[in-house]
Protein backbone atom coordinates (compact mmCIF):
# COMPACT_ATOMS: atom_id res chain seq x y z
CA UNK A 1 0.00 0.00 0.00
CA UNK A 2 2.72 2.46 0.97
CA UNK A 3 4.71 1.40 -2.06
CA UNK A 4 1.83 2.18 -4.39
CA UNK A 5 1.35 5.47 -2.62
CA UNK A 6 4.99 6.41 -3.14
CA UNK A 7 4.68 5.91 -6.88
CA UNK A 8 1.44 7.84 -7.21
CA UNK A 9 2.98 11.28 -7.96
CA UNK A 10 5.20 9.68 -10.59
CA UNK A 11 2.23 7.90 -12.14
CA UNK A 12 0.20 11.09 -12.28
CA UNK A 13 3.13 12.91 -13.89
CA UNK A 14 3.50 10.11 -16.41
CA UNK A 15 -0.13 10.18 -17.48
CA UNK A 16 -0.14 13.97 -17.52
CA UNK A 17 2.80 13.78 -19.92
CA UNK A 18 0.97 11.23 -22.06
CA UNK A 19 -2.10 13.45 -22.19
CA UNK A 20 0.02 16.44 -23.17
CA UNK A 21 1.78 14.47 -25.90
CA UNK A 22 -1.52 13.21 -27.34
CA UNK A 23 -2.96 16.74 -27.25
CA UNK A 24 0.10 18.17 -29.03
CA UNK A 25 0.11 15.47 -31.72
CA UNK A 26 -3.60 15.08 -32.41
CA UNK A 27 -5.04 18.39 -31.19
CA UNK A 28 -4.39 20.41 -34.36
CA UNK A 29 -5.78 17.63 -36.57
CA UNK A 30 -8.85 17.35 -34.34
CA UNK A 31 -9.35 21.12 -34.51
CA UNK A 32 -9.17 20.99 -38.29
CA UNK A 33 -11.81 18.25 -38.34
CA UNK A 34 -14.08 20.24 -36.02
CA UNK A 35 -13.65 23.26 -38.29
CA UNK A 36 -14.55 21.19 -41.32
CA UNK A 37 -17.95 20.25 -39.81
CA UNK A 38 -18.77 23.68 -38.37
CA UNK A 39 -21.28 25.87 -40.26
CA UNK A 40 -19.72 29.00 -41.84
CA UNK A 41 -21.56 31.46 -39.59
CA UNK A 42 -20.34 29.63 -36.47
CA UNK A 43 -16.77 29.73 -37.76
CA UNK A 44 -16.77 33.53 -37.59
CA UNK A 45 -18.30 33.76 -34.11
CA UNK A 46 -16.27 34.85 -31.15
CA UNK A 47 -16.86 31.83 -28.98
CA UNK A 48 -14.80 28.66 -29.29
CA UNK A 49 -16.54 25.31 -29.31
CA UNK A 50 -14.68 22.02 -28.96
CA UNK A 51 -17.56 20.42 -30.85
CA UNK A 52 -19.86 22.41 -33.17
CA UNK A 53 -23.34 23.13 -31.79
CA UNK A 54 -24.83 22.16 -35.14
CA UNK A 55 -22.49 19.87 -37.07
CA UNK A 56 -22.77 20.09 -40.83
CA UNK A 57 -21.35 18.29 -43.82
CA UNK A 58 -21.87 21.29 -46.10
CA UNK A 59 -18.13 21.95 -46.59
CA UNK A 60 -17.68 18.40 -47.77
CA UNK A 61 -20.79 18.79 -49.95
CA UNK A 62 -19.08 21.80 -51.51
CA UNK A 63 -16.01 19.69 -52.27
CA UNK A 64 -17.92 16.74 -53.63
CA UNK A 65 -20.98 18.52 -55.00
CA UNK A 66 -21.78 19.29 -58.62
CA UNK A 67 -22.54 22.91 -57.78
CA UNK A 68 -21.90 25.00 -54.72
CA UNK A 69 -22.64 28.32 -53.12
CA UNK A 70 -20.28 30.69 -51.41
CA UNK A 71 -21.70 33.59 -49.37
CA UNK A 72 -25.08 33.01 -50.99
CA UNK A 73 -23.79 33.18 -54.55
CA UNK A 74 -23.71 30.27 -56.93
CA UNK A 75 -20.07 29.53 -57.70
CA UNK A 76 -18.35 26.97 -59.89
CA UNK A 77 -18.00 23.62 -58.18
CA UNK A 78 -14.50 22.70 -57.09
CA UNK A 79 -15.23 18.99 -57.51
CA UNK A 80 -13.79 18.68 -61.06
CA UNK A 81 -10.49 20.19 -59.89
CA UNK A 82 -10.51 18.45 -56.55
CA UNK A 83 -11.23 14.98 -57.91
CA UNK A 84 -8.61 15.44 -60.62
CA UNK A 85 -5.98 16.54 -58.11
CA UNK A 86 -6.87 13.66 -55.78
CA UNK A 87 -6.45 11.22 -58.66
CA UNK A 88 -3.15 12.87 -59.64
CA UNK A 89 -1.83 12.56 -56.08
CA UNK A 90 -2.89 8.93 -55.93
CA UNK A 91 -1.48 8.01 -59.36
CA UNK A 92 1.95 9.62 -58.92
CA UNK A 93 2.34 8.41 -55.32
CA UNK A 94 1.30 4.83 -56.07
CA UNK A 95 3.40 4.65 -59.24
CA UNK A 96 6.46 5.99 -57.39
CA UNK A 97 5.84 3.58 -54.51
CA UNK A 98 5.54 0.56 -56.80
CA UNK A 99 8.68 1.47 -58.75
CA UNK A 100 10.75 2.24 -55.65
CA UNK A 101 9.72 -0.99 -53.90
CA UNK A 102 10.43 -3.16 -56.97
CA UNK A 103 13.75 -1.53 -57.85
CA UNK A 104 14.91 -1.52 -54.22
CA UNK A 105 13.78 -5.12 -53.63
CA UNK A 106 15.99 -6.44 -56.43
CA UNK A 107 18.70 -3.77 -56.38
CA UNK A 108 19.43 -3.97 -52.65
CA UNK A 109 19.69 -7.77 -52.87
CA UNK A 110 22.20 -7.41 -55.72
CA UNK A 111 24.20 -4.97 -53.57
CA UNK A 112 24.27 -7.46 -50.69
CA UNK A 113 24.62 -10.87 -52.32
CA UNK A 114 26.19 -10.42 -55.77
CA UNK A 115 29.70 -9.36 -56.75
CA UNK A 116 29.82 -7.02 -59.72
CA UNK A 117 32.16 -4.28 -60.84
CA UNK A 118 31.36 -0.86 -59.40
CA UNK A 119 29.05 -2.28 -56.75
CA UNK A 120 30.45 -0.53 -53.70
CA UNK A 121 31.07 2.79 -55.44
CA UNK A 122 27.51 2.92 -56.75
CA UNK A 123 26.03 2.04 -53.38
CA UNK A 124 28.05 4.66 -51.49
CA UNK A 125 27.20 7.32 -54.08
CA UNK A 126 23.49 6.51 -53.98
CA UNK A 127 23.31 6.53 -50.18
CA UNK A 128 25.35 9.76 -50.07
CA UNK A 129 22.54 11.51 -51.98
CA UNK A 130 20.40 11.11 -48.83
CA UNK A 131 22.39 14.04 -47.47
CA UNK A 132 21.82 16.21 -50.54
CA UNK A 133 18.73 18.41 -50.40
CA UNK A 134 16.38 17.79 -53.34
CA UNK A 135 16.22 21.41 -54.48
CA UNK A 136 19.95 21.43 -55.28
CA UNK A 137 19.20 19.50 -58.45
CA UNK A 138 15.85 21.17 -59.12
CA UNK A 139 16.92 23.75 -61.69
CA UNK A 140 18.96 21.45 -63.99
CA UNK A 141 16.18 18.89 -63.57
CA UNK A 142 13.68 21.49 -64.72
CA UNK A 143 15.70 22.20 -67.84
CA UNK A 144 16.19 18.47 -68.44
CA UNK A 145 12.46 17.78 -68.10
CA UNK A 146 11.64 20.61 -70.49
CA UNK A 147 14.04 19.25 -73.11
CA UNK A 148 12.57 15.76 -72.69
CA UNK A 149 9.01 17.10 -72.84
CA UNK A 150 8.27 15.57 -69.44
CA UNK A 151 7.05 18.70 -67.64
CA UNK A 152 3.52 18.17 -66.36
CA UNK A 153 3.47 14.45 -67.15
CA UNK A 154 2.94 11.54 -64.79
CA UNK A 155 6.18 10.01 -66.07
CA UNK A 156 8.24 13.10 -65.23
CA UNK A 157 6.86 13.62 -61.73
CA UNK A 158 6.98 9.92 -60.88
CA UNK A 159 10.59 9.58 -62.03
CA UNK A 160 11.63 12.53 -59.85
CA UNK A 161 9.90 10.96 -56.84
CA UNK A 162 11.63 7.65 -57.52
CA UNK A 163 15.04 9.33 -57.68
CA UNK A 164 14.32 11.16 -54.43
CA UNK A 165 13.03 8.22 -52.38
CA UNK A 166 15.00 5.28 -53.81
CA UNK A 167 18.18 5.83 -51.71
CA UNK A 168 16.35 5.41 -48.38
CA UNK A 169 14.53 2.31 -49.67
CA UNK A 170 17.81 0.76 -50.86
CA UNK A 171 19.37 1.50 -47.49
CA UNK A 172 16.46 -0.11 -45.62
CA UNK A 173 16.28 -3.18 -47.86
CA UNK A 174 20.02 -3.73 -47.67
CA UNK A 175 19.84 -3.95 -43.89
CA UNK A 176 16.89 -6.34 -44.21
CA UNK A 177 18.82 -8.70 -46.52
CA UNK A 178 22.00 -8.43 -44.44
CA UNK A 179 20.08 -9.65 -41.41
CA UNK A 180 19.00 -12.81 -43.25
CA UNK A 181 21.18 -15.92 -43.02
CA UNK A 182 22.81 -16.96 -46.28
CA UNK A 183 21.97 -20.59 -45.49
CA UNK A 184 18.37 -19.97 -46.56
CA UNK A 185 19.48 -19.32 -50.11
CA UNK A 186 22.19 -21.98 -50.09
CA UNK A 187 19.60 -24.64 -49.38
CA UNK A 188 17.70 -23.60 -52.50
CA UNK A 189 20.92 -23.58 -54.58
CA UNK A 190 21.60 -27.17 -53.53
CA UNK A 191 18.18 -28.07 -54.87
CA UNK A 192 19.35 -26.72 -58.23
CA UNK A 193 17.67 -23.32 -58.14
CA UNK A 194 19.49 -20.38 -59.75
CA UNK A 195 20.50 -17.45 -57.54
CA UNK A 196 17.71 -15.27 -58.87
CA UNK A 197 15.15 -18.02 -58.43
CA UNK A 198 16.30 -18.73 -54.89
CA UNK A 199 15.98 -15.04 -54.13
CA UNK A 200 12.48 -14.70 -55.56
CA UNK A 201 11.14 -17.89 -54.02
CA UNK A 202 12.89 -17.97 -50.65
CA UNK A 203 14.21 -14.54 -49.67
CA UNK A 204 11.63 -12.17 -51.12
CA UNK A 205 8.64 -13.61 -49.21
CA UNK A 206 10.59 -13.23 -45.95
CA UNK A 207 11.45 -9.63 -46.78
CA UNK A 208 7.74 -8.70 -46.78
CA UNK A 209 7.73 -6.47 -43.67
CA UNK A 210 10.76 -4.54 -44.94
CA UNK A 211 9.13 -4.03 -48.32
CA UNK A 212 5.92 -2.82 -46.66
CA UNK A 213 7.95 -0.33 -44.58
CA UNK A 214 9.69 0.95 -47.73
CA UNK A 215 6.35 1.24 -49.49
CA UNK A 216 4.77 3.22 -46.64
CA UNK A 217 7.70 5.62 -46.32
CA UNK A 218 7.78 6.23 -50.08
CA UNK A 219 4.03 6.69 -50.35
CA UNK A 220 3.90 9.16 -47.45
CA UNK A 221 6.83 11.18 -48.82
CA UNK A 222 5.38 11.30 -52.33
CA UNK A 223 1.86 12.09 -51.10
CA UNK A 224 3.16 15.06 -49.09
CA UNK A 225 5.47 16.48 -51.76
CA UNK A 226 4.90 20.16 -52.45
CA UNK A 227 7.92 21.86 -54.00
CA UNK A 228 8.53 19.27 -56.74
CA UNK A 229 4.96 19.41 -58.12
CA UNK A 230 4.87 23.18 -57.58
CA UNK A 231 7.59 23.36 -60.23
CA UNK A 232 6.92 20.29 -62.35
CA UNK A 233 3.09 20.12 -62.31
CA UNK A 234 1.86 23.55 -63.42
CA UNK A 235 -1.60 22.42 -64.64
CA UNK A 236 -4.35 20.07 -63.54
CA UNK A 237 -2.92 17.43 -65.90
CA UNK A 238 -0.72 16.28 -63.01
CA UNK A 239 -1.27 18.84 -60.23
CA UNK A 240 -1.64 17.05 -56.86
CA UNK A 241 -3.78 17.97 -53.85
CA UNK A 242 -0.85 19.56 -52.03
CA UNK A 243 -0.54 22.20 -54.76
CA UNK A 244 -4.28 22.60 -55.40
CA UNK A 245 -5.45 23.08 -51.80
CA UNK A 246 -3.30 26.17 -51.06
CA UNK A 247 -4.74 27.73 -54.23
CA UNK A 248 -8.11 27.89 -52.46
CA UNK A 249 -6.46 30.53 -50.24
CA UNK A 250 -5.33 32.92 -52.89
CA UNK A 251 -8.89 33.85 -53.83
CA UNK A 252 -10.20 37.08 -52.32
CA UNK A 253 -12.28 35.23 -49.79
CA UNK A 254 -10.64 32.46 -47.78
CA UNK A 255 -13.12 29.67 -47.16
CA UNK A 256 -11.62 28.04 -44.05
CA UNK A 257 -14.40 25.46 -43.79
CA UNK A 258 -13.67 24.28 -47.31
CA UNK A 259 -9.89 24.38 -46.79
CA UNK A 260 -10.08 22.29 -43.65
CA UNK A 261 -12.49 19.83 -45.28
CA UNK A 262 -10.07 19.48 -48.21
CA UNK A 263 -7.19 19.09 -45.77
CA UNK A 264 -9.01 16.32 -43.90
CA UNK A 265 -9.62 14.48 -47.19
CA UNK A 266 -5.93 14.85 -48.08
CA UNK A 267 -4.98 13.55 -44.63
CA UNK A 268 -7.20 10.47 -44.90
CA UNK A 269 -4.79 8.15 -46.81
CA UNK A 270 -1.79 8.81 -44.52
CA UNK A 271 -4.08 8.56 -41.48
CA UNK A 272 -5.31 5.12 -42.58
CA UNK A 273 -1.71 3.97 -43.15
CA UNK A 274 -0.70 5.08 -39.65
CA UNK A 275 -3.74 3.42 -38.07
CA UNK A 276 -3.38 0.06 -39.75
CA UNK A 277 0.30 -0.27 -40.58
CA UNK A 278 1.99 1.74 -37.81
CA UNK A 279 4.12 -1.24 -36.76
CA UNK A 280 5.86 -1.34 -40.17
CA UNK A 281 6.07 2.44 -40.32
CA UNK A 282 7.83 2.77 -36.97
CA UNK A 283 10.24 -0.09 -37.67
CA UNK A 284 11.06 1.46 -41.04
CA UNK A 285 11.68 4.87 -39.50
CA UNK A 286 13.87 3.33 -36.80
CA UNK A 287 15.94 1.43 -39.36
CA UNK A 288 16.19 4.51 -41.54
CA UNK A 289 17.20 6.71 -38.61
CA UNK A 290 20.04 4.36 -37.72
CA UNK A 291 22.12 5.71 -40.54
Amino acid sequence: MTRRFKHLPGQIGLWLGVALLVLWSVGPVYWSFVTSITPPNALVSNSLHLWPEAATWQHYAKLFGANSTSQGNEVASVWPQFSRAFANSLITSLAATALVVIIAAFGAWAFVRLQFPGRDVLFVLVVATLAIPAYTVMIPLYRLMISLGLIDTYTGVTLIYVSAFLPLALWLMRSVYQAMPLSLEEAAWLDGASKLRAFVQVVLPLAGPGLVACGILTFLSAWGQFMVPLVFSPTLATKPLTVLIPEFVTRNYVDYGLMNAAGIVAIAPPLLLVMFLNRYLVSGLMAGAGK
Partner: protein
Protein backbone atom coordinates in the same frame (compact mmCIF):
# COMPACT_ATOMS: atom_id res chain seq x y z
CA UNK B 1 56.95 -11.66 -72.14
CA UNK B 2 53.27 -11.50 -72.47
CA UNK B 3 51.56 -8.57 -70.94
CA UNK B 4 49.04 -9.77 -68.51
CA UNK B 5 46.03 -7.55 -68.55
CA UNK B 6 43.59 -8.38 -65.85
CA UNK B 7 40.15 -7.83 -67.24
CA UNK B 8 37.42 -7.90 -64.66
CA UNK B 9 35.79 -11.25 -65.17
CA UNK B 10 32.16 -10.70 -65.77
CA UNK B 11 30.59 -13.98 -64.74
CA UNK B 12 26.99 -14.99 -64.49
CA UNK B 13 26.56 -13.49 -61.02
CA UNK B 14 28.12 -10.23 -62.06
CA UNK B 15 25.86 -9.96 -65.10
CA UNK B 16 22.80 -10.52 -62.92
CA UNK B 17 24.11 -7.97 -60.41
CA UNK B 18 24.71 -5.39 -63.11
CA UNK B 19 21.28 -5.99 -64.60
CA UNK B 20 19.57 -5.50 -61.23
CA UNK B 21 21.64 -2.43 -60.35
CA UNK B 22 21.14 -0.87 -63.78
CA UNK B 23 17.77 0.78 -62.99
CA UNK B 24 19.30 2.26 -59.83
CA UNK B 25 22.31 3.57 -61.76
CA UNK B 26 20.16 5.00 -64.58
CA UNK B 27 17.65 6.77 -62.37
CA UNK B 28 20.13 8.12 -59.85
CA UNK B 29 22.66 8.98 -62.54
CA UNK B 30 20.24 10.75 -64.81
CA UNK B 31 18.09 12.50 -62.25
CA UNK B 32 20.52 13.19 -59.38
CA UNK B 33 24.22 12.86 -60.23
CA UNK B 34 24.18 14.57 -63.62
CA UNK B 35 21.90 17.40 -62.47
CA UNK B 36 24.13 17.85 -59.41
CA UNK B 37 27.28 18.13 -61.53
CA UNK B 38 25.40 20.40 -63.89
CA UNK B 39 24.35 22.63 -60.96
CA UNK B 40 27.98 22.97 -59.87
CA UNK B 41 29.17 23.62 -63.44
CA UNK B 42 26.33 25.91 -64.58
CA UNK B 43 26.60 28.08 -61.48
CA UNK B 44 29.77 29.46 -63.11
CA UNK B 45 27.80 30.79 -66.09
CA UNK B 46 25.09 33.39 -66.46
CA UNK B 47 21.99 31.41 -67.35
CA UNK B 48 18.87 33.53 -67.47
CA UNK B 49 16.14 32.70 -69.98
CA UNK B 50 15.35 36.41 -70.27
CA UNK B 51 18.88 37.29 -71.39
CA UNK B 52 20.60 36.09 -74.57
CA UNK B 53 23.65 33.84 -74.34
CA UNK B 54 25.19 32.01 -71.43
CA UNK B 55 28.59 33.62 -70.89
CA UNK B 56 31.12 32.22 -68.43
CA UNK B 57 31.16 34.48 -65.37
CA UNK B 58 33.40 32.55 -62.98
CA UNK B 59 32.39 33.04 -59.37
CA UNK B 60 30.41 36.20 -60.05
CA UNK B 61 27.09 34.49 -59.31
CA UNK B 62 28.45 33.68 -55.86
CA UNK B 63 29.92 37.12 -55.22
CA UNK B 64 26.64 38.72 -56.31
CA UNK B 65 24.81 36.60 -53.73
CA UNK B 66 27.15 37.79 -50.97
CA UNK B 67 26.39 41.41 -51.87
CA UNK B 68 22.63 40.87 -52.12
CA UNK B 69 20.95 42.20 -48.97
CA UNK B 70 17.79 40.15 -49.60
CA UNK B 71 19.85 36.97 -49.72
CA UNK B 72 21.72 37.90 -46.57
CA UNK B 73 18.43 38.56 -44.78
CA UNK B 74 17.20 35.13 -45.92
CA UNK B 75 20.32 33.52 -44.39
CA UNK B 76 19.60 35.20 -41.06
CA UNK B 77 15.96 34.11 -41.24
CA UNK B 78 17.00 30.53 -41.94
CA UNK B 79 19.50 30.64 -39.05
CA UNK B 80 16.66 31.72 -36.73
CA UNK B 81 14.44 28.88 -38.01
CA UNK B 82 17.27 26.40 -37.40
CA UNK B 83 17.87 27.54 -33.81
CA UNK B 84 14.17 27.65 -32.89
CA UNK B 85 13.21 24.41 -34.62
CA UNK B 86 16.21 22.43 -33.37
CA UNK B 87 15.66 23.59 -29.77
CA UNK B 88 11.93 22.79 -29.83
CA UNK B 89 12.44 19.42 -31.52
CA UNK B 90 15.33 18.34 -29.30
CA UNK B 91 13.87 19.41 -25.95
CA UNK B 92 10.35 18.23 -26.81
CA UNK B 93 11.63 15.10 -28.54
CA UNK B 94 13.85 14.11 -25.62
CA UNK B 95 11.00 14.63 -23.15
CA UNK B 96 8.63 12.58 -25.31
CA UNK B 97 11.21 9.80 -25.80
CA UNK B 98 11.91 9.59 -22.04
CA UNK B 99 8.18 9.41 -21.42
CA UNK B 100 7.63 6.71 -24.03
CA UNK B 101 10.58 4.74 -22.65
CA UNK B 102 9.01 4.70 -19.16
CA UNK B 103 5.60 3.69 -20.44
CA UNK B 104 4.73 0.04 -19.83
CA UNK B 105 1.35 -0.19 -21.53
CA UNK B 106 0.18 1.23 -24.84
CA UNK B 107 3.62 2.35 -25.95
CA UNK B 108 3.02 1.23 -29.54
CA UNK B 109 -0.21 3.18 -29.77
CA UNK B 110 1.23 6.32 -28.26
CA UNK B 111 4.15 6.05 -30.67
CA UNK B 112 1.72 5.80 -33.59
CA UNK B 113 -0.04 8.93 -32.35
CA UNK B 114 3.27 10.76 -31.91
CA UNK B 115 4.39 9.81 -35.43
CA UNK B 116 1.15 11.08 -37.00
CA UNK B 117 2.22 14.72 -37.68
CA UNK B 118 5.27 13.50 -39.61
CA UNK B 119 3.03 11.41 -41.87
CA UNK B 120 0.73 14.21 -42.97
CA UNK B 121 1.45 16.40 -46.00
CA UNK B 122 3.45 19.44 -44.76
CA UNK B 123 1.20 21.72 -46.79
CA UNK B 124 -1.92 20.45 -45.03
CA UNK B 125 -0.17 20.84 -41.65
CA UNK B 126 0.59 24.44 -42.53
CA UNK B 127 -3.04 25.05 -43.52
CA UNK B 128 -4.31 23.51 -40.29
CA UNK B 129 -2.02 25.81 -38.29
CA UNK B 130 -2.85 28.79 -40.48
CA UNK B 131 -6.45 28.51 -39.28
CA UNK B 132 -5.26 28.12 -35.67
CA UNK B 133 -3.18 31.30 -36.11
CA UNK B 134 -6.05 33.20 -37.80
CA UNK B 135 -6.09 36.77 -36.42
CA UNK B 136 -9.89 37.04 -36.12
CA UNK B 137 -11.24 33.57 -35.39
CA UNK B 138 -8.17 31.45 -34.66
CA UNK B 139 -7.81 29.02 -31.80
CA UNK B 140 -4.54 30.59 -30.57
CA UNK B 141 -6.10 34.03 -30.09
CA UNK B 142 -9.19 32.43 -28.57
CA UNK B 143 -7.21 30.43 -26.01
CA UNK B 144 -4.88 33.30 -25.08
CA UNK B 145 -7.80 35.74 -24.75
CA UNK B 146 -9.71 33.21 -22.66
CA UNK B 147 -6.71 32.74 -20.37
CA UNK B 148 -6.30 36.51 -20.06
CA UNK B 149 -2.76 36.48 -21.45
CA UNK B 150 -3.62 38.98 -24.19
CA UNK B 151 -6.35 41.65 -24.21
CA UNK B 152 -6.93 42.03 -27.94
CA UNK B 153 -6.69 39.54 -30.83
CA UNK B 154 -3.21 39.56 -32.36
CA UNK B 155 -2.35 39.60 -36.06
CA UNK B 156 0.55 37.20 -35.50
CA UNK B 157 2.30 37.65 -38.83
CA UNK B 158 2.39 41.45 -38.53
CA UNK B 159 5.32 40.95 -36.19
CA UNK B 160 8.43 39.32 -37.63
CA UNK B 161 9.53 37.67 -34.35
CA UNK B 162 6.19 35.98 -33.67
CA UNK B 163 5.91 35.03 -37.35
CA UNK B 164 9.27 33.27 -37.25
CA UNK B 165 8.40 31.54 -33.98
CA UNK B 166 5.00 30.34 -35.22
CA UNK B 167 6.43 28.98 -38.48
CA UNK B 168 9.14 27.19 -36.49
CA UNK B 169 6.47 25.64 -34.26
CA UNK B 170 4.64 24.23 -37.30
CA UNK B 171 7.90 22.85 -38.68
CA UNK B 172 8.87 21.39 -35.30
CA UNK B 173 5.40 19.86 -34.95
CA UNK B 174 6.02 17.92 -38.15
CA UNK B 175 9.67 16.98 -37.58
CA UNK B 176 9.71 16.16 -33.84
CA UNK B 177 8.54 12.55 -34.41
CA UNK B 178 11.85 11.75 -36.13
CA UNK B 179 13.79 13.00 -33.10
CA UNK B 180 11.51 11.01 -30.79
CA UNK B 181 12.04 7.80 -32.74
CA UNK B 182 15.82 8.21 -32.98
CA UNK B 183 16.16 9.01 -29.26
CA UNK B 184 13.75 6.26 -28.21
CA UNK B 185 15.83 3.71 -30.12
CA UNK B 186 18.95 5.04 -28.35
CA UNK B 187 17.25 4.93 -24.92
CA UNK B 188 16.15 1.34 -25.41
CA UNK B 189 19.75 0.27 -25.96
CA UNK B 190 20.80 1.42 -22.46
CA UNK B 191 21.03 -1.58 -20.10
CA UNK B 192 18.59 -1.27 -17.17
CA UNK B 193 21.25 -2.50 -14.69
CA UNK B 194 23.05 0.83 -15.01
CA UNK B 195 20.04 2.65 -13.58
CA UNK B 196 19.63 0.06 -10.83
CA UNK B 197 23.27 0.50 -9.81
CA UNK B 198 22.97 4.30 -9.84
CA UNK B 199 19.82 4.14 -7.77
CA UNK B 200 21.56 1.94 -5.18
CA UNK B 201 24.34 4.53 -5.05
CA UNK B 202 21.70 7.13 -4.24
CA UNK B 203 21.82 9.08 -7.50
CA UNK B 204 18.86 11.43 -8.02
CA UNK B 205 16.73 11.32 -11.16
CA UNK B 206 18.49 14.40 -12.51
CA UNK B 207 21.94 12.89 -11.84
CA UNK B 208 20.90 9.66 -13.57
CA UNK B 209 19.77 11.69 -16.58
CA UNK B 210 23.02 13.68 -16.75
CA UNK B 211 25.49 10.92 -15.91
CA UNK B 212 23.93 7.90 -17.61
CA UNK B 213 21.19 8.76 -20.08
CA UNK B 214 22.62 11.75 -21.91
CA UNK B 215 26.16 10.40 -22.44
CA UNK B 216 24.85 7.04 -23.61
CA UNK B 217 22.36 8.46 -26.09
CA UNK B 218 24.89 11.01 -27.39
CA UNK B 219 25.40 9.27 -30.76
CA UNK B 220 21.62 9.14 -31.26
CA UNK B 221 21.41 12.76 -30.19
CA UNK B 222 24.02 13.67 -32.81
CA UNK B 223 21.97 11.98 -35.54
CA UNK B 224 18.78 13.65 -34.31
CA UNK B 225 20.44 17.08 -34.16
CA UNK B 226 21.93 16.82 -37.61
CA UNK B 227 18.63 15.60 -39.08
CA UNK B 228 16.64 18.43 -37.52
CA UNK B 229 19.26 20.95 -38.61
CA UNK B 230 19.31 19.79 -42.21
CA UNK B 231 15.51 19.77 -42.40
CA UNK B 232 15.29 23.24 -40.83
CA UNK B 233 17.87 24.62 -43.28
CA UNK B 234 15.62 23.24 -46.03
CA UNK B 235 12.45 24.77 -44.58
CA UNK B 236 10.15 25.80 -47.42
CA UNK B 237 6.58 24.46 -47.30
CA UNK B 238 5.50 25.89 -43.93
CA UNK B 239 6.87 29.40 -44.49
CA UNK B 240 5.56 29.49 -48.07
CA UNK B 241 2.01 28.49 -47.12
CA UNK B 242 1.78 30.58 -43.95
CA UNK B 243 3.36 33.79 -45.22
CA UNK B 244 4.23 33.41 -48.90
CA UNK B 245 7.35 35.11 -50.20
CA UNK B 246 7.17 37.81 -47.51
CA UNK B 247 10.63 39.18 -46.76
CA UNK B 248 9.99 38.90 -43.00
CA UNK B 249 9.84 35.12 -43.07
CA UNK B 250 11.66 34.27 -46.31
CA UNK B 251 13.97 31.30 -45.85
CA UNK B 252 16.96 30.60 -48.09
CA UNK B 253 15.07 27.93 -50.01
CA UNK B 254 12.19 30.31 -50.66
CA UNK B 255 14.85 32.71 -51.94
CA UNK B 256 16.17 29.98 -54.28
CA UNK B 257 12.65 29.36 -55.56
CA UNK B 258 11.95 33.08 -56.06
CA UNK B 259 15.30 33.65 -57.76
CA UNK B 260 15.05 30.69 -60.11
CA UNK B 261 11.38 30.25 -60.88
CA UNK B 262 9.90 33.72 -60.36
CA UNK B 263 12.77 36.04 -61.36
CA UNK B 264 14.03 33.42 -63.86
CA UNK B 265 17.64 33.83 -62.71
CA UNK B 266 18.59 30.17 -63.01
CA UNK B 267 22.31 30.57 -62.40
CA UNK B 268 21.80 32.74 -59.30
CA UNK B 269 19.37 30.17 -57.91
CA UNK B 270 21.82 27.36 -58.62
CA UNK B 271 24.69 29.17 -56.90
CA UNK B 272 22.50 29.79 -53.84
CA UNK B 273 21.34 26.16 -53.76
CA UNK B 274 24.98 25.02 -53.90
CA UNK B 275 25.81 27.28 -50.94
CA UNK B 276 22.82 25.96 -48.99
CA UNK B 277 23.86 22.38 -49.67
CA UNK B 278 27.39 23.11 -48.45
CA UNK B 279 26.06 24.80 -45.31
CA UNK B 280 23.64 22.02 -44.42
CA UNK B 281 26.28 19.34 -44.99
CA UNK B 282 28.89 21.26 -42.97
CA UNK B 283 26.58 22.00 -40.05
CA UNK B 284 25.50 18.39 -39.70
CA UNK B 285 29.12 17.23 -39.93
CA UNK B 286 30.14 19.62 -37.14
CA UNK B 287 27.45 18.24 -34.84
CA UNK B 288 28.42 14.66 -35.47
CA UNK B 289 32.16 15.30 -34.95
CA UNK B 290 31.62 17.39 -31.85
CA UNK B 291 29.28 15.00 -30.10
CA UNK B 292 31.52 12.04 -30.89
CA UNK B 293 34.53 13.89 -29.50
CA UNK B 294 32.72 14.88 -26.32
CA UNK B 295 31.53 11.37 -25.66
CA UNK B 296 35.09 10.09 -25.98
CA UNK B 297 36.30 12.32 -23.13
CA UNK B 298 33.31 11.58 -20.95
Amino acid sequence: MALQIKLPRVGKDARLGLALALPVALIMGGLVFLPLLSTLFDSLFRIEPMKPGTPFVGLRNYSNLLKDSTVNAAWITTAIYVVLAVVIETVGGLAAALLLNRLRVGRRWLLAIVVLPWCLPPVVNAIIWMWIYNPSYGLLNGLLLGAGIIDTPQVWFNNRETGLLLISVVHAWRMMPLTVIILLAALQSIPAELYEAARLDGATALQRLRKITLPLIAPGLAIALSQSTVFAVNLFDEAWILNGASLDTRSVIIQVYVLAFQNMKFSGGMALSVLTMVVSLAVSLIYVLRVYRETRFE
